[in-house]
Symmetry: C2
Subunit: 477 residues, 2 copies
Amino acid sequence: MRHTKVKDLLNSTTTLQEINAKGWVRTFRNNQFIALNDGSTINNIQCVVDFENTPDETLKRITTGAAVSVTGSLVESKGAGQKYEIQVNKLEILGDSDAEKFPMQPKKHSLEFLRENAHLRVRTNAFGAIMRVRSVLSFAVHSYFQQKGFVYVNTPIVTGADAEGAGEMFQVTSLPLDNLPKTEEGNIDYKKDFFGKHTNLTVSGQLEGETFAMALGQIYTFGPTFRAENSNTSRHLAEFWMIEPEVAFNDLNDNMDLAEDFIKYVVKYAVDHCGDDLKFLEGRLIEEEKSKPQADRSEMPLLEKLGFVMNNDFKRVSYTEAVDILRDSTPNKKKKFQYIINEWGADLQSEHERYLVEKHFKCPVILFDYPANIKAFYMRLNEDGKTVRAMDILFPGIGEIVGGSQREERFDVLVEKMKALGIDEEELWWYLDTRRFGSAVHSGFGLGFERLVLFVTGMTNIRDVIPFPRTPQNAEF
Amino acid sequence: MRHTKVKDLLNSTTTLQEINAKGWVRTFRNNQFIALNDGSTINNIQCVVDFENTPDETLKRITTGAAVSVTGSLVESKGAGQKYEIQVNKLEILGDSDAEKFPMQPKKHSLEFLRENAHLRVRTNAFGAIMRVRSVLSFAVHSYFQQKGFVYVNTPIVTGADAEGAGEMFQVTSLPLDNLPKTEEGNIDYKKDFFGKHTNLTVSGQLEGETFAMALGQIYTFGPTFRAENSNTSRHLAEFWMIEPEVAFNDLNDNMDLAEDFIKYVVKYAVDHCGDDLKFLEGRLIEEEKSKPQADRSEMPLLEKLGFVMNNDFKRVSYTEAVDILRDSTPNKKKKFQYIINEWGADLQSEHERYLVEKHFKCPVILFDYPANIKAFYMRLNEDGKTVRAMDILFPGIGEIVGGSQREERFDVLVEKMKALGIDEEELWWYLDTRRFGSAVHSGFGLGFERLVLFVTGMTNIRDVIPFPRTPQNAEF
């Protein structure tokens, strides 16, 4: 007999004869009530075991974590809390789970402990919910762009280009490290490496993405990117997934419109499709914050916060305005900021971004027109000669979630900038070709997917929203 | 004025006043007719320039590859071949393209030449079509699994586990190769590497995926995987995208059903959504095959072949039956095979797979129940003690497109197999936990995405269906 998913059984509109369910025991009460979960939903189905006619041997094996198959009828539940339950006629233990040894017992575990058991934490309510929400958000990303006619582009992961300077890179090699081939001059002979040159893991697919946008019009990437930065924070991963749309003929305003519309769409999609999971995560957050001082708690419950983002315009503020606000702010005057903002041109730190978003505007903020010298070489220089058409989107509790810009489409200006920064033109010949042949205004942005998942799930550590986090000194599993 | 996409203009149901289109010039005829493409469709829109009132200076700049903006009216075309065309009132050159230098002139280029210009080849009809089809196929993959309630899982790219043995691996490191830190014993000190251990690029997300399937029930991965194999063939890439579903409680038959249903769905999705592009690619293939001997040409035009796959059952054949067929086959008897099949247990080579699919059955074939000793350690041993519940799906012209199996769910049997093969139990402690706690029958498969794109587009070299191919001695762009 084919088994029916727990989700479908719970959503049934009638009682049912002769059904089979398979899943894992979450709890077993009174030698009679199994809370069974199969991952299809956060909700368990109650299975009522006929304990008087079940051998003690079998009952003892119904432990937390055990895989079981139950056959019986879906009947109206006499108990509170569920409409239907399974009256079990036949129970089969598929796989035991030694209660002495199974680490995921039905009690509160620390997030630290769960990270060390990333292969099992997904069997808990919270991580099951997070991973389902993450999956639905991924699909929302694809749905949004595909509906609008964007072409999904898989830019390369291993790259010979390391000129972009978005961050420290990991080297990829097939050379034997304990017996490196050398050139006559005594250098490492990368001609003997797999790709015949020094190669790294990508930090961004943007440059390759631009070449495709200048042919297909609207493209997006969604793939893993890497930073070999020793950042042991709750907001950084060495391996993370990034979404990078790039659109020909879009200027910076179009780019801001696209980013805001995109974020609202995917958040709404999660709210519309992950109701049960988000309700659970909202409760989890409230519970977790009880131990925090009032000032550190969220201002709104999770679902209200998501609704707020969906339904309110993001505040658009130029860098210059932002610096004025920060200079006049109480924490700046009282020297509460670690980095005091004295003058125009200062790079904004996370403390400043948080002040703007969480204290001053109390909503998502788009900062734009940054000083040229704190931004990347490919950003479009404004007519003022000192700012570039960059934009960052800042989210409460998350900080920067999007970084984007209108790109410098003028060949001469771009080359001059590269020269000034010592970026090798030869190496980026193909990138410069987009400006040599049929150049046009175009814009794009990058959104760190895990930061989006953090925001939507209300989690606070980025290691808890990716299946197997990669951080300094950690590549287990 | 906002520009309208060429696709929307061509699909218009009425004439339109005051429209703007932006794109790249494909050709410019008679000083009057621009064929304009913006990547939204393979079709160009004809733009009729009022050449008598346009300065010669401007007309000269309308060259292949130039980016232009045209404003005017969408009117019924007097010419053949299109319903509508743009009567241009205002033309603006956005970006020039020097006809002497632009490599993508409107003539036939070799695929070799185009690969060397992977950043520009997407501006040709064929590669625009291929990349759109690839994108739509990606979305079909996600749509299929999400509709069925599968959870998308991003398994790690950088991995400390190298026990799977699916192929040669690339090393990932942040150590300085010209100054490697050493332990007291003189070995490389991987404790000083970024992750504190020796790490590689993943060859498969299956093992991590299994841990999630044993919690969430149905999962799939879709991400990049890597093989450091020096295979300079038209079917191998060092970096390719793989789809790996894994389903708890599925046995090998369920697994075959899932794979067949999945492939039929995504092929149909492409046919339903990429009509124009596939029609073009069908024509391209016919043209290309004209120079080949009759025997080497496709038996069916592209769309007919796709229809055939959508509408016919895949032939399911056990390894044992397949070996019997091969042993009795003409090429085996006449010693035309490079590897003669003499006895049960032989590993099948590509020549044998092609014979079965292309000559004997003339349809997609699923081979199952392979000899245990030519397959991976994690495959479920059959009761005969010598075969495992493995399955490969073989496609005409492509060879193996899917490899999968029912997994060995019995802890003891699995451990014994690992010991026999010298696979470190310690290193795979987390994988073994799935069999320690709540183990159950489960199955999955891997599908090489580029092979699917090859099949659907009718291309013959895998380097032509991924934006920037990575192969031995090649990581340009």
